[in-house]
């Protein structure tokens, strides 16, 4: 059988790529045949996106070769890859909402007639391309901003087709789609396949991977672990390939039963644009881990509890009393603190001093509650206790390392003596030493009676730190796991391999 297989459309051999000395891809081999949908799966940070960017010309590999349509190629820019016939549909759409479908599809290559843009040809050819992918009902002179996300994706794909793409890279194409739109996308991908196009399909969602792909390559820690024929593979087998590494780091001891205090926070039926039917209880003294894939609602949950993107439905109580967390200000007043995953954007004011950053929340929300001197003294105490490494408290915070910036952010919140702490990726972008200092601190805060909710996409951290784990999927809590759960348990809940009652 293997002798009859067509020669590969794309062949990657030994692709390696490092950023700032961190090895992101390591000797990756991968082949895509014409007319094949080849899925690439792996945990967050396994290197999927980087690999796609190497193929689409955004990044250049440090080592290894790319062979496309039988010839070795190097792509120095996305444009070169496009011209060679590799189209990409990015996670974030790249269309101009104020321009029409046809204008977007032909941008940069508008057909000319006597030196002028040939609008008729542009519209006609766009209509043909739309019809060829079964979307003939979409008028090519519609403004893209009027289209839904699924239709915009169709336009992206047609834009790639207009370049005579023979390989299409789709990076999490369903992330922004509603359920009924996913079905349309499936049909579209199958039609492309019939035309002999190769598709590299990156997705977290195993259901899609099994529905669409002919083969699956599993990436883990930058290596291609294995390539499987989809037909011969079960979901359980796939998950086993995706996870499974030793817990090497040290984590502080979990809470003893007697350390757990009363219920600090409850949510009943919480929901908003990104969340549905959230029910949870958070007790004093415990660390509740929140797992899930990117976009599953784990950050949305933390932001809802902090009032940054509030719940629009449901009830929240703090220490038994109902509260309305309509704004961060209200949440802070209720004794809630939040450490954002986006430290640069939401955590620090880059151009201000260490001290100003640490005093930010206190000054804003409780002016006069503590005397000016007392508040400053408290912050100084905290910074000293964290062993902050800075040239001085008047140094601009942007010159500090990520770990030290995070310590300043923590000092800001702890100065308010919060009873509930929400951490979203508290150790992202922080070196190993500072990481375990923050882990110790989180546990100590819980011991001292705070209720902690910690979002993490790093499975070892999630499993090592949490007394209890809830896993989010599609804006809901997909399930809860007790301490001692395995990476496989978390991933299975996150991607939804276990049968849902609703199907």
């Amino acid at each position: 059988m293997s002798g009859l297989l067509p020669s590969p459309l794309l062949a990657l051999r030994g692709i390696g790529k490092s950023f700032l000395g961190v090895r992101v891809l390591d000797g990756v081999d991968l082949q895509v045949r014409p007319g094949e949908v080849h899925a690439v799966v792996g945990e967050n940070g396994a290197g999927k996106s980087t690999l796609m960017k190497v193929v689409s010309g955004v990044h250049q590999p440090d080592e290894g070769t790319i062979e496309f349509a039988g010839a070795p190629r190097t792509f120095r820019s996305p444009r070169e890859a496009q011209q060679a016939g590799i189209g990409t549909v990015y996670q974030e759409l790249t269309l101009l909402p104020e321009r029409t479908v046809a204008e977007n599809v032909w941008l940069g290559r508008e057909p000319l007639r006597r030196g002028l843009v040939d609008r008729r040809a542009m519209l006609g050819r766009t209509a043909e391309l739309l019809a060829s992918v079964g979307e003939g009902s979409l008028p090519p002179d519609t403004r893209v901003g009027r289209l839904g996300v699924a239709q915009q994706q169709v336009v992206e794909i047609v834009k790639a087709l207009a370049l005579d793409a023979r390989l299409l890279i789709m990076d999490e194409p369903t992330a922004a789609l509603a359920d009924h739109e996913v079905g349309q996308l499936y049909a579209l991908v199958r039609r492309l396949q019939e035309h002999g196009m190769g598709v590299l399909y990156v997705s977290h969602r195993l259901k899609e991977v099994f529905a669409l792909s002919s083969r699956i390559t599993v990436l883990k820690d930058g290596r291609a672990v294995t390539t499987l024929d989809t037909a011969d593979t079960s979901a359980d087998q796939l998950v086993r390939h995706m996870v499974g590494r030793e817990l090497s780091s040290y984590y502080p001891d979990p809470a003893q039963p007697q350390e757990l205090g009363p219920v600090r926070l409850t949510v009943r039926g919480g929901g908003n644009r990104k969340l549905r039917g959230i029910d949870l209880r958070l007790r004093a003294g415990e660390v509740l881990g929140v797992g899930g894939l990117q976009g599953s609602g784990r950050s949305a949950l933390a932001r809802a509890l902090f009032g940054a993107a509030p719940f629009s439905t449901g009830q929240v109580t703090v220490d038994g009393a109902p509260v309305r967390l309509r704004s961060p200000r209200a949440a802070i007043r209720a004794g809630i603190a939040y450490v954002s995953e986006d430290r640069k954007g939401e955590g620090i004011v880059a151009g201000q001093s260490v001290l100003d950053n640490a005093l930010l929340a206190g000054r804003a929300v409780r002016p006069g509650r503590l005397g000016r001197g007392a508040r400053t003294a408290r912050v100084r105490e905290l910074l000293a206790a964290f062993e902050l490494r800075a040239a001085g408290e008047n140094q601009e915070i942007r010159f500090l390392s990520g770990g030290n910036q995070q310590k300043v952010v923590l000092a800001r919140w702890l100065a308010l003596a919060p009873r509930i702490l929400l951490f979203d990726e508290p150790t992202r972008g922080i070196d190993v030493g500072a990481k375990s200092a923050i882990h110790d601190l989180v546990r100590r805060l819980a011991r001292d009676g705070a209720a902690v909710l910690m979002v993490s996409s790093e499975l070892p951290e999630l499993l090592g730190m949490s007394d209890r784990i809830i896993v989010m999927r599609d804006g809901r809590i997909a399930g809860e796991l007790a301490a001692g759960a395995t990476e496989e348990d978390v991933v299975a809940l996150a991607v939804g391999t276990e049968r849902e009652a609703a199907g």
């Binding site: 996305p78 444009r79 790249t94 269309l95 101009l96 909402p97 104020e98 321009r99 029409t100 204008e103 941008l107 940069g108 290559r109 508008e110 000319l112 030196g115 002028l116 843009v117 609008r119 009902s137 979409l138 008028p139 002179d141 519609t142 403004r143 901003g145 009027r146 289209l147 839904g148 699924a150 239709q151």
Partner: protein, 323 residues
């Protein structure tokens, strides 16, 4: 989703024309009650002359704003152009064409500098063009105390005062320039690319558009339009005037006209037709107030209110579309 598609694909005409008709109707009513005549021949001619000067500058401004940039040096370019034109002509009809050529060449060079500062040097367009404007101001303040040069009589009689019925030649020039700019945006690759660069420069670049070159071209065209406005003003005044651009507030008023016309200040959306509407609206308000002999300061206040209100209306519409 199919519901979204059943909506008409064509864009509705800019609301500025509705506002224009309303302004003229209400203005006519108020002026008539006051015992004046808004649509008398002299008022109409003067309204169209005001529109011609501002319009030429604003059409050029539209191109840079659509491309996501801005030109605040236009008022000084206008002043300088009147001087270059009038001094080169020195009252001689024979020097007419070389003088216009030189004026446009000087303007284009200033536009080129603006464009290069904004693209290659990556200086914020606001800062870059104000800087270039101040440089020109320095030259003008240092070299001139008052009018200088003499405009060729043929130009004064032609572009300055010739009209067909109530419509001055200069207004026809504006319509021609506006039509050319409209055609360029709608039917040339340059136009398509300019709108794309204004919408998202990185996206345009990844689609193969040479973003910098496109934006520099837009700046050159904008300065050329300001230069043309200068030639027109020289024809009206009979001489070069070192402060005519700034006293006419051509920098801010041109941007106001562009915004009134529905072009997004962030770029990527809008067009020349709306700008012409915005220019006519501002000129009409001017004419109404002149007829009513309203206090100059009060006039400025009302213009400010109109502009802020227009931007607020556009912003609300954009928000509704986005949600």
């Amino acid at each position: 989703m199919s519901g979204a598609l059943s909506l008409p694909a064509r864009r509705t005409p800019p609301g500025v024309f509705v506002a224009l008709v309303l302004t003229l109707a209400i203005g006519w009513l108020v002026v008539t009650l006051d015992g004046g005549r808004l649509f008398s021949l002299p008022t109409t001619v003067s309204l169209l002359h005001v529109a011609a000067g501002l319009g030429l500058v604003a059409v050029g401004q539209t191109l840079v704003v659509v491309g996501g940039s801005l030109d605040l040096s236009v008022a000084y370019v206008v002043s300088l152009s009147t001087l270059v034109a009038a001094e080169t002509m020195a009252g001689d009809d024979g020097a007419l064409l070389p003088a216009i050529g030189l004026t446009l060449a000087v303007s284009a060079t200033i536009g080129l500098v603006n464009g290069l500062l904004v693209t290659t040097a990556r200086i914020n367009p606001f800062i870059a063009t104000v800087g270039v404007g101040l440089l020109l101001k320095g030259y003008l303040d240092n070299g001139y105390d008052g009018p200088a040069g003499k405009t060729a009589p043929a130009l004064v009689q032609g572009l300055g005062y010739q009209r067909i019925g109530p419509v001055p030649l200069s207004f026809l020039l504006l319509l021609a320039v506006a039509a050319a700019a409209w055609f360029m945006l709608a039917r040339t690759r340059f136009g398509h690319h300019l709108i794309a660069v204004g919408g998202d420069p990185e996206l345009a670049r990844l689609s193969g558009v040479r973003s910098n070159r496109v934006l520099v071209t837009a700046h050159v065209l904008c300065a050329l339009c300001a230069g043309l406005a200068g030639v027109y003003l020289a024809s009206r005044l009979g001489a070069g005037a070192p402060r005519v651009g700034t006293e006419g507030l051509y920098d801010l008023e041109s941007i106001a006209a562009v915004v009134l016309g529905g072009t997004a200040l962030a770029g990527g959306r809008g067009g020349v037709a709306g700008t012409v509407g915005g220019v006519l609206l501002l000129a009409s308000v001017d004419a109404v107030f002149n007829q009513l002999e309203v206090d100059v300061f009060f006039k400025q206040v009302i213009r400010g209110v109109i502009i802020v209100a227009a931007v607020a209306v556009h912003a609300r519409r954009a928000m509704r579309k986005a949600s």
